[in-house]
């Protein structure tokens, strides 16, 4: 088993190195001079070649790409993700350290809403059928098909501008004002949860309908167990396995959906950091963000592989 785990970790490290290399080379291959972006804005231009050269030297961009690549890898081996081009007094790690928790908080809040709302909705649709099923199925179809930025904008319009219940966007540190932090979290989290809630509800409905058709359910009912007990203690519980699996996969994809919600609600997460950094050609931050996200996925995959290996020894081979 130890050999199996080591093999998976080794494979993960090779994969991470490949990601680092591809991202590094891709960034240096695309046009767009980071020095020129730092020295000019949309409404200006015309900087001297000497100024451009000086900034390139300060950023290390005057070195051959292979030298830059070597230095970057050596830094990575020491746990150094580098410093931002735009803010040379801030490390990439500090940027990611500030943004990653915000994104994870948004994603897990959305996932929590999906479980709290999606599972009961799916169970209700399966159990009641009829018009309730039709309404819930229609709502979940809408939830899956509506783009998250449309939902977000709609929420801002209704709950912030019309009703004035919540802020239109922004961010407050939890440590400085917990209530304000949660007020600003709620709308983006609910907007982000629409898609995943719908998927969870539909998956729950399908799983419950499948479970209800099992022979043992009929047996339980025929033995006189109350219908509610059969449903809540046996049917629903036995239906949750595929729901949990789907939820896990959806949480991964939510990480990629946050960028639009972050834009609409001005929530400072990894998505907006990545987009801004690509636009500014801030190579170290782009590389750092991609590496951290890739490492997270690789770690999750290793954990799943190891778990499969534990559950089914055949998978180790």
């Amino acid at each position: 088993m130890a050999r199996f785990i080591l093999k998976r970790i080794g494979l993960g490290i090779v994969l991470l190195w490949l990601v680092v290399t591809v991202v590094f080379l891709a960034l240096h291959a695309v046009p767009g001079d980071p020095a020129a972006i730092l020295l000019t804005s949309e409404g200006s231009g015309g900087v001297t070649p000497e100024a451009l050269e000086k900034v390139r030297q300060q950023l290390g961009l005057d070195q051959p790409v292979l030298v830059q690549y070597r230095d970057y890898l050596l830094g990575l081996l020491q746990g150094d993700l580098g410093t931002s081009f735009r803010n040379t007094s801030s490390t990439v790690a500090s940027y990611i350290g500030a943004r990653l928790p915000n994104t994870l908080e948004l994603v897990f809040a959305a996932a929590l809403i999906a479980v709290v709302v999606g599972v009961p909705l799916g169970a209700l649709a399966a159990r009641r059928g009829g018009w309730i099923d039709t309404v819930i199925s229609t709502l979940t179809t809408l939830g899956i098909s509506m783009p998250v930025y449309v939902i977000g904008t709609f929420f801002v319009l209704i709950f912030a501008l019309q009703l004035g219940w919540f802020p239109a966007g922004g961010f407050t540190e939890f440590s400085s004002d917990p209530i304000e932090h949660l007020r600003k979290l709620l709308l983006p989290a609910v907007a982000l949860s629409f898609g995943i809630t719908s998927v969870v509800a539909r998956m729950t409905r399908s799983a419950v309908l499948e479970t209800v058709a099992q022979d043992w359910v009929r047996t339980a009912k025929s033995q006189g167990l109350p219908r509610n007990t059969v449903f809540s203690r046996h049917v629903l519980r036995n239906s949750l396995n595929p729901v949990v699996t789907t939820l896990g996969l959806e949480i991964g994809s939510l990480l990629g959906s946050t960028v639009l919600v972050e834009r609409v609600f001005t929530w400072p997460g990894m998505g907006s950091l990545l987009v801004d950094s690509v636009n500014a050609r801030d190579y170290p931050i782009v590389q750092g963000v991609v590496i951290v996200i890739a490492a997270l996925f690789i770690l999750i995959n290793i954990a799943v592989d190891v778990l499969y290996g534990v559950l089914d020894p055949r998978a180790r081979h």
Partner: protein, 523 residues
Amino acid sequence: MGYRSGLKKWLVAAVIAPVMILSGCSGSGDSGSLDAGSGELNTTLRIALSADVADLKPSRDQGAAAMMLDTLIHRGLLGYDGNGDVVPALAESYDVNETNTEFTFHLREGLKFQDGSDLTSENVKKTLEFLASSDSGAKIFATMSDLDSVETPDAQTAVVKLKNPNVAFPAYLADTTAAILPEEAFSAEGTAWSGAGPFILEETNPGVSFTLKKNPDFYDAANVNFEDITITIYADGQARLNALLAGDADLMDFVPWESFSQVESNSDLVLDGQSGPWMYLHFNVSNGSPLANEKVRQAIALAVNRENVATSAFSGQATVTAGAPIAEGSEFYNAELANGWSQNVEKAKQLMAEAGYADGFDAVLLSSSQYAFHQDTALSVQPDLEAIGIRTTLDSPDWATRQQKAAEGQYDIAVAGSAGVVNDPSFLVNFVTGPAANNRSYGFDDPELNQLLAAGLTAAPGADRVAAYDAVQARIIETVPFASLVARTQAFAYTNKLTGFSNIPGFLTFESGYTLVGAKLAA
């Protein structure tokens, strides 16, 4: 049944209660207030800003958002008032010699930087010399490169000598990037987060917000009515406007053009727009290119429908500019020359034929998809160019790529948007001469135009200068170093409780943060 009913109630309560509690909690950022005699004033101003400023670097042009921070944290020798007139700042006065080559600045007494150190004429000397160094990346380098020397006879006096006369020199020193900074700002890794302005940076949350507090040592602190300013970054225009509409902000910059009417229809808000940066086409005039022929460039300038650009790219919130971009209110505005390129498609076709391109030619039209108004401008002029036989292929990469392609001449015709450093027409030099750059025609050089621009800097104020810049404008109409399209309206929006703030006209719109000294926010 009773159990289910009870459970349902609990579930509903569990979901609704936190929402009600959260929505009921006041999110207002309002803080302290003071009684200023005529009524309660709010001492905290909340600004919704259009972009983050990752790091403030001395002297660089880092865009509109950085300029807002600059005007709050820094001060130069001179500044601007709400009308765009140059006014004293750190220098309480200055003298000029007859030839406009020597400027003597008299500093105020007791000036201090925000770190508590004294601000003297030595700091002025260091700052101006940095601005004049070719590798500084200074926004006003083109002007400062004429610096001959800075003498400091005493701690309160700085004598600035130029190699050539420059009537407009004070206007350049009033720009935010000419702020006087402590010496450490000019080191290799130096930043400009400290200065001698009305506010001190207290806290920054990268990409999220800045918190500023009043600088008690500011020379005009008595006129500063805000104890704190919180700046929140809302990169999306609609999100920024939403923050203002929802009462989360008191002032926003860069109002999206399509939202002007929404702000105007709200009686609680003020829309403060001014004709600002201008959009234009520039050309690759390398040898062998059809665009090297000035008749082709004249044809393009005459072919474009500028009203269409204003409508399609700026929701009508732009002013047609059919000559050199000099605002109508300026003393240098010449109605005839300002309309020298009024649309005349037949004449444009005739010029194409005279240039030997009666059948037209293929060209790459460079724009950028990152700014919708740049791309819409390109889409608007494309059929106009087609009408005179110029068949364009649109190249619309992201902004970084666009800038590189423009600087390297990888285009035939490019859409650009820009602003002069000052409203004085001397700014035109940045758009017609100098090394290859992203904002001017690649390979263009007109010695005669350069001489005319130099003459404009030496001409005596009044009729002589007006005549000098008439000649500059006439030469621009003839040689078309760029083809102006429109001047876009740049607007701030703010609550009607805010008074004293004003959008400075013309290219100085981005310097409007200066007017927050003296501004008041009613509680």
